[in-house]
């Protein structure tokens, strides 16, 4: 597998913005993968493994966030992260309300 760089811009469509649970899910996915990921919002950025950094980046509904992944599974990680910004959690505890 080769080192790839993936940059993908997502728009936050979760009405509650990127909240604690989103941040946690992001950090978990990134922690399990093999790529280095950072999130960039305008002049702010966060290491995607750090919940507090992700949260204090403060991404609200309608804002653009760039996912920058570097590593062998960069594209797969970015794919896995994308739905989180829409409030879709890929586990059995799907948002119900």
């Amino acid at each position: 597998m080769s080192e790839t760089v993936v940059r993908r811009t997502v728009v936050v469509t979760d009405p509650m913005g990127v909240h604690a649970r989103t941040a946690l899910a992001i950090s978990k996915i990134v922690g399990q993968g093999k790529s280095q990921v950072k999130l960039v919002k305008k002049d702010r950025q966060a290491r995607a493994t750090e919940v507090l950094q992700i949260m204090t980046m403060v991404a609200e509904l309608g804002e653009r966030v760039e996912i920058e992944a570097v590593g062998p599974d960069a594209a797969a990680v970015a794919d896995a992260l994308e739905p989180l910004f829409a409030g879709k959690f890929n586990d059995e505890t799907q948002e119900s309300a």
Binding site: A20, L52, Q53, V58
Partner: protein, 580 residues
């Protein structure tokens, strides 16, 4: 340095240590650690993080098991935040480099994070600050352990900074050590304002959100004259406030000898200076200042924050304390002056779009006779202990006054039947605080033993201004000619009868207006006890003819600004400096 503008509700300025009251009511002293203790303190911090982490993990498991993974996830997120490398790095840096105590460092760093959220417009994300506060609390609990100090057990002087203070919080505060209040919300009539005035400590309310900008233990200045709160003051500002405090102290010392001298004008006219009080303990402030009595004993505190309606005995105990402390000097007890929303166990009125013009005060009393009668019984029972007067608030028609007097007569009969002693000749009076009462004062004086002008409401109702509304507060002015005309009407009507008339609003306590009021014929002032020395000082320097000249001139003026400027000049002729 950061300055916040709020509403000044209790005068004076004070420099002190901040007690931030949102962290479960415990305080973080600003403490520095010795250089050689840094290693131990870092270890203490790390232990606290570990302990907090174990606790959160435990919570996560319990919550996940009971409510599902989705809810447990929030604690998982807290756990991650707690162990965030940057956060820990920042705290450790403050301990290592700046020798902050771990408590102070934690509070400082986490508040900066919380600020990021609190500044946001969006409420969803702004509430996220609570996640951070939650972590802060948890860490502090582990760090402080048993040493955490509750607000009811203070050991050193503090300035209390809070979002809002509830009656139960203020009643639990240790009065010996609280030196000032700031609340983010609230207006001049708020509970904090009343308590601060009663404690005679500076207070500023309605500053808007700022608590995340300050950590407990930091030095803060509260300027209750200007309505300013100064965070992280610079040396120059501190020096200025210290100098002013010193000057005030000297000034107060100068006025001390006046305590035992009568408030008598240079031409020998005796002026009566009485105290306004809210809480029974304030009667001591009146005695200390040599007050001629209690001119306004507000009884709202008995109801505010009470779970159930106060019993007759609770009323009686409070009144007894005040009446006995005043001995043979008069005590004017005002019956409750509240809306139904502030009364325990009273259904909220259906129609309350306009509370100031709605069912409150005497109107509410006359609709809830059992509550009213309980209070009147206690007042009457206390009347044999001293010189008790009863006063009805917010009377606007003669019929209301007559109804209230009928209820009183009825309660008297009841007491007599039970052979309970009371003063049958207890003077009965009313507040003049609606334009209606002032305009009908000539009729009211036929049916009361005394009048008392309540300027706060009279100004509000005359000028149609809510003084808590910052857009129109500029119109709120005690010396607006319209207000002065009504005050003059009331004084003239009382003098003609004659019945005694006093003034008990904030206006009467400001030396700026003393000359004018004396000139208008007022001889009885009821003021916040701390204002007695200054008002007395001025009374003793003027003559009545001098005051009359001033009043006559004022009555020809057409707007409040001119009156105020003129009075400022006049007062300067007698005393060096006068606060508004």
């Amino acid at each position: 340095m950061q300055k916040l503008q709020g509403i000044a509700v209790s005068p004076g300025a004070v420099i002190g240590e901040a007690l931030v009251m949102d962290t479960e009511g415990f305080r973080i002293p600003r403490r520095f650690v010795a250089r050689d203790a840094v290693v131990d303190e870092l270890e203490r911090f790390n232990k606290a993080v570990t302990a907090a982490a174990v606790e959160i993990a435990h919570h996560r498991e319990t919550v996940s098991a009971e409510l599902g993974e989705k809810y447990g996830a929030i604690f998982e997120a807290h756990l991650q935040m707690l162990q965030d490398s940057r956060l820990r790095g920042e705290v450790e840096e403050l301990i290592r480099q700046r020798h902050y105590s771990p408590e102070y460092a934690v509070s400082h760093v986490l508040r900066r994070y919380a600020q990021v959220f609190q500044r946001l417009e969006s409420s969803y994300l702004a509430e996220r600050a609570n996640d951070i506060f939650d972590i802060e609390k948890r860490l502090l609990r582990h760090l402080l352990g048993r040493r955490r100090e509750g607000i009811s057990h203070l050991t050193s002087p503090v300035l209390v900074l809070a979002h809002n203070l509830t009656p139960s919080e203020t009643s639990n505060l240790d009065r010996r050590f609280v030196r000032g209040f700031v609340t983010e919300v609230g207006g001049p009539g708020s509970h904090t304002a009343i308590v601060a005035e009663a404690l005679e400590i500076p207070a500023v309310v309605g500053t808007g959100p700022f608590l995340t900008d300050v950590s407990g233990g930091e030095t803060v200045i509260i300027d209750g004259d200007q309505g300013l709160v100064i965070l992280q003051p610079d040396e120059e500002t501190l020096a200025r406030y210290r100098r002013e405090a010193e000057e005030k102290r000297i000034q107060a010392t100068k006025l001390e000898p006046l305590r035992d001298l009568p408030a008598e004008t240079r031409d020998g006219v005796r002026i009566e200076l009485l105290g306004n009080i809210e809480f029974p303990y304030e009667v001591d402030h009146c005695v200390d200042r040599g007050a001629d009595g209690v001119g306004l004993y507000r009884t709202e505190f008995l109801y505010l924050g009470a779970e159930i309606e106060p019993t007759e005995e609770i009323h009686y105990q409070a009144y007894t304390r005040v009446v006995q402390a005043m001995g043979n000097k008069p005590v004017v007890i005002r019956t409750f002056d509240l809306g139904a929303d502030k009364m325990p166990n009273m259904p909220h009125p259906e129609d309350n779009r306009n509370p100031c013009l709605g069912l409150r005060s005497i109107r509410l009393a006359l609709r809830n006779l059992p509550v009213f009668r309980t209070q009147l019984r206690a007042i009457l029972r206390a009347s044999v202990l001293g010189k008790v007067h009863v006063m009805f608030p917010l009377v606007s028609t003669l019929l209301e006054l007559r109804q209230a007097k009928m209820v009183l007569a009825d309660v008297m009969e009841d007491l007599q039947e039970h052979n309970l002693p009371f003063d049958r000749n207890m003077p009965v009076g009313m507040m003049v605080e609606t334009p209606a009462a002032a305009m009908m004062a000539d009729r009211f004086v036929e049916e009361v033993d005394f009048l008392s002008i309540g300027t706060n409401d009279l100004i509000q109702y005359t000028l149609a201004v809510d003084r808590t509304n910052k857009d129109v507060v500029g119109l709120y002015n005690p010396v607006d000619p319209a207000v002065l005309k009504l005050v003059a009407m009331a004084i003239e009507a009382a003098d003609r009868k004659p019945v005694p008339i006093s003034m008990c609003g904030q206006m009467s306590g400001s030396p700026l207006y003393t000359i004018l009021l004396l000139g208008m014929g007022l001889r009885r002032f009821s003021v916040t006890p701390s204002a007695i020395p200054e008002v007395k000082n001025l009374c003793r320097r003027v003559t009545i003819p001098e005051c009359r000249t001033v009043a006559e001139r004022v009555m020809t003026m057409e707007n409040a600004r001119d009156v105020k400027n003129y009075l400022k000049e006049e007062v300067k002729k007698y005393v060096e400096e006068v606060a508004e």
